[in-house]
Symmetry: C2
Subunit: 155 residues, 2 copies
Amino acid sequence: MILPDIIFRIATHADVPSIVRLLADDELGSLREKYENPIPTSYYSAFELIDKDPNHELIVAELDGEVIGTLHLMFLPSLSFQGGLRAQVESVRVDTQYQNQGIGSEMMKWAIQRAKDRNAHIVQLTTHKSRADAHRFYERLGFKGTHLGMKLSLT
Amino acid sequence: MILPDIIFRIATHADVPSIVRLLADDELGSLREKYENPIPTSYYSAFELIDKDPNHELIVAELDGEVIGTLHLMFLPSLSFQGGLRAQVESVRVDTQYQNQGIGSEMMKWAIQRAKDRNAHIVQLTTHKSRADAHRFYERLGFKGTHLGMKLSLT
């Protein structure tokens, strides 16, 4: 099922426009991102913060030199769970052309393995209630929808 | 309603046992924390990671020299929302003796103000689906339960 020559790796500065393209190409994402040429510099500023912080890993899936998937993996130290490290996943996207081919699943499994390698005790994420396909996708990976995700917009 | 002389401040090393006491004194927390004397060193190891990272703020509410509340505020750089900074709140507790007196609300408002001061565009949190009182508490503060919070245990 999975395409044979996909590479998962940490994103570089040069990948930022491709990642923004993926973030914007989405029903909810299109309302809040700006994919234009050049992309707003705020994306690069955020990339620098992510790139220099060892607790953040911005991941891309690459096929034939093209970025076709992304996720943002972060590690959150916490006192809870006896001082256990949490892993959190945000901003998961697969290029619409390449969806339903198992790429998202492989990318998530790759991220979960990285979380295990860092001895995280949990991987957590939130997904909009409207994304029913995403809920099933994460359930197939073993996630359980035990929590309510609440957001307070400050803008 | 609010007790007049409560101080909100960043936690110190000396506060860790009191914070663990609060984390453990809870229906879900009692299953996963170890509040004993001395507390496991893993709590202190996690505290050091939190304390040295400017993107993490472990907060305590202090009344007459006693820690009666805590929350963990974190700032998460992200490419999404045009490179916007997210604030996230975890591990919110108020001493059972002091609940329903507005202390949790004041503590959250204090944290929300800090998130505004750092130009975060959102404050996010998850709360177990079983905590109906917590849902109402956060809704009163303006949070909307738009997301499903999903967890994958790695232990």
